[in-house]
């Protein structure tokens, strides 16, 4: 009875650690295989297209509207103090430091991370991963590493696009719609926005890219239980990736800024 209870408390914790360990191991293996010839450039390219290009539209839309709503919200706040000029700065800083990388990563998780888990999960349950292994090809190298590399490269790229369109969106709302003095808006933005804000945001994005791809690939790679298992893996991939992104965002922010 008592042992049972103890077991029930310990085993989830144990599982969490085991899962973290396995994810870490998968990441390690991916890194190992990334630098082994032959390099699978065409696989990486294909994944770059999938993770990057196919996410551009959703990232742009997210970015623009985030910038716009930020401008609108902060305008109402700053107007009370007569410092509407600071709206531009608020938009730019929020987007480059936080919202650009985080929202991009969350959108890509939803779009590409879930697809990674579903693809690898399907490959697992239909024995395609076994087929690769039978051909003496390492599935981590062929399936996981290219996705991680692609995400690592594409997330900063998508983020810089999100940053840019977000700032433009803020500008449109702030200057064109709300009539904030254009000079003040732009100058304050430029004055307060550091290169470091942009670069740190991009570093964050790259880290998020690694996190979401490793977690999603892990969930897909170790799928079991047929089609239902694939569905479960996909959901878990999105949830675990998103939570990990937000947690790591806090950690990164506290280190960087």
């Amino acid at each position: 009875m008592f042992e049972n209870l103890l077991q029930r408390i310990i085993s989830p914790v144990e599982n969490i650690f085991r899962e973290f360990g396995s994810i870490g191991l998968m990441f390690y293996q991916s890194i190992y295989w990334m630098f082994r010839r032959p390099f699978k450039f065409d696989y990486i390219l294909k994944q770059m297209e999938f993770v990057g290009l196919n996410s551009v539209l959703v990232v742009v839309i997210t970015g623009v509207f985030t910038g716009m709503v930020l401008a609108l919200q902060s305008y109402h706040g700053f107007r009370k103090f007569g410092s509407e000029g600071l709206v531009g700065m608020t938009v730019a800083l929020s987007i480059t430091r936080e919202l650009g990388p985080v929202l991009t990563a969350l959108m890509v998780t939803g779009r590409a991370g879930s697809a990674m888990a579903a693809e690898l999960g399907t490959m697992r349950v239909t024995e395609q991963i076994d087929a690769l292994m039978v051909m003496a090809l390492n599935p981590i190298k062929y399936l996981v590493a290219p996705r991680i590399i692609a995400s690592f490269i594409m997330l900063p790229l998508l983020t810089i696009i999100a940053d840019f369109v977000g700032i433009v969106g803020g500008y449109i709302v702030g200057v064109k719609l709300l009539g904030i003095n254009e000079g003040a808006y732009i100058n304050k933005t430029i004055q307060y926005l550091d290169l470091d804000d942009i670069y740190n945001g991009l570093i964050k994005a790259a880290v998020f890219g690694v996190i979401l791809s490793v977690v999603s690939c892990y969930k897909g790679f170790y799928t079991s239980g047929g089609a239902e298992g694939v569905g479960r893996a996909t959901t878990e991939a999105v949830v675990v990736s998103s939570v990990s992104i937000l947690i790591s965002d806090y950690v990164l922010t506290s280190i960087m800024f």
């Binding site: 693809e119 399907t122 239909t126 024995e127 395609q128 076994d130 292994m133 039978v134 051909m135 003496a136």
Partner: protein, 256 residues
């Protein structure tokens, strides 16, 4: 281990949870021969086959391939051994991100330095053999189960491997194509003197091509030998199997 043994299986045990699937398998797969493994559905045939190529680790036992116990090999060494193998999966396991042609060409592209021209020749030859030359551009998700099986077969043979494992090569096929495929297996084997391991429920067809038959039952090999030896075995499981296929049209009408 005898000189002409390609794969030596010693006391192989495998258990999933409480279910004992393999319970002490001992079997020698002869080099240059076709070994057919028969057994009940869910009896562990596919699991046994996956052990032979290192996809599943046994709980206990040894699997000797060319003087190496593949159970103890690390990934890299195992891959070297795997290069001698070809395998047809029960559900074909085609890569559904690729079309038929690319699926068959894939092992060549990854393991050889052949030109695209040479690859094309090899792939088309194999596709012709399985009767799918016209379907090279189809995505694998657009194929029927039997077609997938045949593409899988072509892919398993494309590298001309020394040992090929077939998991039910004819299970999803109509009788006519079944015969073609059986002929293909027989022909390639006789021609290149390769070692084939075939899992099948198609007793009649398999007895046609088998050099050796092994019966898997309750996690053990209960009968093995030439087709005729096995047919005459007085093992109960074997007799049950033989009775089941004695259908009037095929066996000359003496069913009772």
């Amino acid at each position: 281990m005898k000189e002409n043994t390609a794969i030596g299986i010693k006391d192989l045990h495998k258990q999933f949870g409480d279910q004992k699937v393999l319970d002490g398998i001992n079997l020698d797969i002869e080099r240059g021969k076709i070994t057919v493994i028969i057994g009940k559905s869910g009896g562990g045939k596919s699991v046994l086959l996956k052990h032979l190529i290192g996809l599943v680790k046994p709980d206990k036992g040894e699997i000797w391939v060319d003087g190496l116990d593949i159970v103890k090999l690390n990934e890299k060494e195992l891959n070297e051994t795997r290069k001698k193998f070809g395998m047809l999966f029960q559900e074909a396991a085609l890569f559904d991100s690729m079309n038929v042609y690319d699926n068959v060409a894939f092992p060549l592209r990854e393991h050889t330095k052949l030109s695209e021209k040479a690859i094309e020749r090899a792939v088309e030859e194999k596709l012709k053999r399985v009767g799918l030359l016209a379907f090279g551009e189809k995505m694998s998700s657009e194929l029927s189960g039997g077609m997938r099986k045949r593409v899988g077969l072509a892919r398993a043979l494309i590298m001309d491997p020394d040992i090929v494992l077939f998991d039910e090569p004819t299970s999803a096929l109509d009788p006519v194509i079944s015969v073609t495929i059986e002929d293909l297996i027989r022909e390639t084997q006789t021609h290149f003197q390769k070692t084939y391991v075939v899992i099948s429920h198609d007793i009649l067809g398999m007895f046609r091509i088998a050099d050796k038959v092994a019966m898997l039952s309750n996690g053990r090999i209960v009968a093995e030998g030439s087709p005729n030896e096995v047919r005459r075995s007085n093992n109960e499981m074997v007799q049950e199997f033989m009775r089941a296929v004695k259908m009037p049209a095929l066996s000359g009408g003496n069913y009772a």
